[in-house]
Symmetry: C2
Subunit: 219 residues, 2 copies
Amino acid sequence: MSDKKYVNVLIVDDHLIVRDGIKALLIKAEGIKVIGLASNGMEAYELLKSIHQSVDVVLMDISMPEMDGITATHKIKKDFSDVNVLALSMHDDQSYIIDVLQEGALGYILKSTGKKELIHAIFRIAEGQSYFGKEASDKLLNFLSSKEEKKEVKSNDLLTEREYEVLALIADEYTNLQISEKLFLSPRTVDTHRRNIMQKLNAKNTAGLVKYAIAHNIN
Amino acid sequence: MSDKKYVNVLIVDDHLIVRDGIKALLIKAEGIKVIGLASNGMEAYELLKSIHQSVDVVLMDISMPEMDGITATHKIKKDFSDVNVLALSMHDDQSYIIDVLQEGALGYILKSTGKKELIHAIFRIAEGQSYFGKEASDKLLNFLSSKEEKKEVKSNDLLTEREYEVLALIADEYTNLQISEKLFLSPRTVDTHRRNIMQKLNAKNTAGLVKYAIAHNIN
DNA sequence: TTTCAACTAAGGGTAAATACCTAGTACTTA
DNA sequence: TAAGTACTAGGTATTTACCCTTAGTTGAAA
């Protein structure tokens, strides 16, 4: 992108107002051009199929319906490795940061970041360099200094259809028994699903499950 | 505001990018002027102390640190009753909608709403009329047709300091026993707090508590 | 065609949460 | 000074969640 005139940006966020807002923000920034908008990971991926040659930076929200930002980043880097991803999230949870960076995002900043820092980050990412907001840096250092690395790294499989279904009902305050009735399953099966989900997500209990469900828009 | 030239808007949201984004959005809208920004309810309230005469509409996010949008709306309508509030949220949970409307907000729209609808809503609210996005309308009808009205209405007390503290730890995946150790309490006391919180929030179990905690930025 | 993942289900536990109840102390407010 | 609220904590019980393990079926992929 060294000799291009603009950094071409694709904004991915499920909230229209946020999307339009960031677009309006970036329009006034010199050297940046918003060339696309998508409301979820799937849409972004489909859009990139036709315009990936002209996209320099994807501004990627993490929590979205249809396809979340982490999955989308994975698919994008797999198929369009020349497109750089900057994760933009409200969450400063260590696991999201780690996850999306493992999928190939070059940077991570919070939505509570200022306009200046956003623009700076976009230019950095466009050059193929990394950029982390303060919170992301802290969490990263925290992660690197802990010994849990391997454990966490290998636990990034997505949930299965059935597991998503069960998780959604858990987050909706259903008990295992109620879930089993709703899904025509044995309570023991629901119990098994529940514990499998907990293991996959490194959740200690229901609280952890619900936090994941909300962050990933599962419902 | 009938003979003013502009609808003066105050934007309240905890995410700087969202705040700046909406501002950039509205700047291009004819007849609307963004005259203030605040990053939480407390800041908005303090700001209104000096400029409430010139504010027509407060665009109020629901989930914020320091002081959430529901509490802020309450304080604003109490002290500056001529200022109209339009709630702007990512959540379409019935309880938030009901809560903020009970505190005096005139409208409720989601962040997934489009720019056009946002601007339309702002003009409606500025005129003292109500405006609800589709999702809010649906939930409202749902609420009105249910018989739980009184039960829900009377259960809007805020939690106490201690209860917030306990709730935060619950959402952080601590068990009652761990919480009791952290706060130097008897496990029975934590249990009592937990059940009191559940009653106040109409939560059925831990899942309900965590959902509330996240939506209200308790941590 | 066998290997694997997803889905199903159960035995046999322990730990934790949920429910209903009472009750003391400390502090504030009417 | 009486009433109320927050905070504390216990008794007693049931229900639900959580843990470890095994295992059958199905369908898809290697």
